[in-house]
Symmetry: C2
Subunit: 363 residues, 2 copies
């Protein structure tokens, strides 16, 4: 058990945006929301999963929709409270704690906003260890935990309580409703018990996010090489260095989809990297070869500061370093690859772990 | 109070399909479902609205989606029971009776299926006096009765309980969810009290439907002119007689939209009628003039038998009589015209009552 104050929030926001692999919401908005909530209601208690009673009722905090929309439609947090209260009423039981559903600038911050406002602790675990675009893309789905009963709530006051036959149906129906509700909504879904988060969650993700954020912050203060330090912290690989020469993105069917093109610099001169995304970065490849593919993590960092850049933040001319990070082993199982591997997203490539691809590239 | 058995169901199904103005679902499927339920559970009690206690909880039976889809996805009635039970549980109160939300081959039969299976009476009133394609298009909306809490349920076992800020939002969100759920769903929405149906419903609609069906049946038995008899029963007008020469329909955004072309016969020779529909027939016009426009009712009848033809039933070469019927006065108010008038559906014409249009045509 530890207390999370403003400095921790600043660091977690940066680390979460990096693990958010371009998605998971805007870290600046997320941070502001969390800082304001802590300012108003005081520091938030974070529990290690092992500190949570086995039968405690937990509900993750999350938002769904296109990040491009979230930028224009800043959530107040009020709709998340509406969703939580409605789910609590439906279940007839008090929620013991919340936790982030995924890593991401916004979705890692939401639990702190809700926890501060509702007086709940936050459990240090999530359901991805990164960010993914669809609701069923959580380790909980791999382990057979139902997404429903699920409440989605918009900022206008509309809510929907879903009960579906499986989590893919939750995704379909909630996504269609989300588009009607203005493109983004707050969720209260994947309610579970303490024993479930211990068995199925990805533990100590907030701690890792905080370390990443701290590493980047200290590198700046000490004039150290932020990228090198980050790669050590996350156990990742540099994939490419380049300048953004083209960025093509559109918001369709509730997602921000697109491709960014980077022209190589330094030792990558004369090479071109294409980075494809659907809310999150999913595949990085040059003309010559595949460098990293989902579910492994692909993060775009500012070449100078090492700060992560979301898909919406990728700007023409920006000098970036693209890095790859091995995903959690749960995603490398057969059901994991089936659920979030490249073929699910329509790419005609097999999943190969980033550490093997990088070895090939170094030859 | 009276009992409804098999003959009454047969007659009501025909009359409901006529008032369904091309929509409201397939009368054959609806009839089969109701007959089967009555066969199994016995006759259903129908109450006059005035026989219902003021504080009784009433929930209309209805289905939403494209009729073209309903033809392929025959509802078992099971999903309607799921929706009713979930709404009952949410409201914490037993449902006293059900009633049809609209006139239509399927939607006028559903209350009998549910009533038989759940042992409830049916109230002889609906919310349209005809059929309309969208959820907010009910007299209840004109009178400020909320559509939510609303449950929608599909045949797979998925449900959504909606709570929205107004009935237009219910329509938007439920429609999007319906499309995902396979194009049609069962609803439990517009729960209300006995006093509401007395003040806001269109009373004795089942009685009128039964009379229409009986008129057509007896005309056949007595070799009488079915069309003439029907026009007397409903107080309607013959608009056109012709042969279908073209029918263009597609199912999009959850609706069956299209236009049917009729080449005139008898005294309408050398004229052509265009009939535009969105689930229901909305506008009938020849090259020369407008003949009938929503919210007045446009029905297509088989020229020989007088039996109503739904939009999906319109076939190339069919010889038809198109009739117009004045709508209920509630639809002729300012809010009525705003909600279901021609401009709402995108037609650049003003509403003129069918009796005035017909007078003009006769000149």
């Amino acid at each position: 058990m530890r207390k999370i104050g403003k400095q921790e929030i600043e660091d977690i926001a940066v680390g979460a945006a990096l693990l958010g692999t371009g998605g998971g919401g805007d870290p600046y908005i997320g941070k502001l929301m969390a800082l304001q909530a802590i300012e108003e209601f005081g520091p938030v208690t974070v529990l290690d999963p092992e500190e949570v009673p086995d039968d405690a009722l937990l509900v993750p905090s999350s938002m769904m929709g296109a990040p491009t929309v979230m930028l224009e439609k800043v959530p107040s947090g009020e709709e998340a409270i509406v969703a939580f209260k409605q789910l609590e009423e439906y279940l007839g039981e008090k929620i013991y704690a919340t936790f982030p559903i995924e890593a991401g600038g916004l979705n890692s911050m939401l639990p702190f906003v809700l926890a501060a406002r509702l007086g709940l602790p936050v459990v240090d675990a999530d359901g991805m260890g990164r960010a993914f675009p669809e609701l069923q893309m959580v380790t909980f789905y791999l382990d057979g935990i139902s997404a429903t009963p699920a409440v989605i709530a918009d900022e206008k006051g509309n809510t929907a309580l879903l009960s579906t036959i499986d989590n893919v149906w939750t995704e379909r129906i909630a996504r269609a409703a989300t588009i009607q509700m203005g493109g983004s909504v707050m969720n209260a879904m994947y309610s579970m018990r303490g024993k479930d988060i211990k068995a199925s969650g990805i533990p100590n993700i907030l701690q890792l996010e905080e370390e990443i954020g701290k590493t980047i912050r200290l590198a700046k203060e000490n004039n150290a090489n932020a990228i090198e330090e980050v790669l050590k912290t996350v156990g990742g690989f540099e994939l490419f260095r380049g300048k953004v020469t083209d960025i093509d993105r559109k918001t369709e069917t509730g997602f921000a989809r697109g491709v960014a093109t980077f022209e190589g610099m330094d030792k990558y001169k004369d090479e071109t990297l294409k980075l494809r995304f659907q809310n999150e970065h999913l595949i990085a490849q040059t003309e010559k070869q595949l460098l990293c593919v989902t579910p492994d993590l692909i993060a775009v960092l500012d070449a100078e500061t090492g700060l992560p850049i979301t898909t919406e933040g990728i700007r023409y001319g920006a000098r970036c370093v693209v890095i790859g990070i091995p995903c959690h082993p749960k995603w490398r199982t057969e059901k994991g690859i089936e659920t979030v591997g490249p073929r699910y997203f329509g790419y005609d490539v097999d999943y190969v772990p980033v550490e093997e691809l990088v070895k090939g590239a170094a030859k």
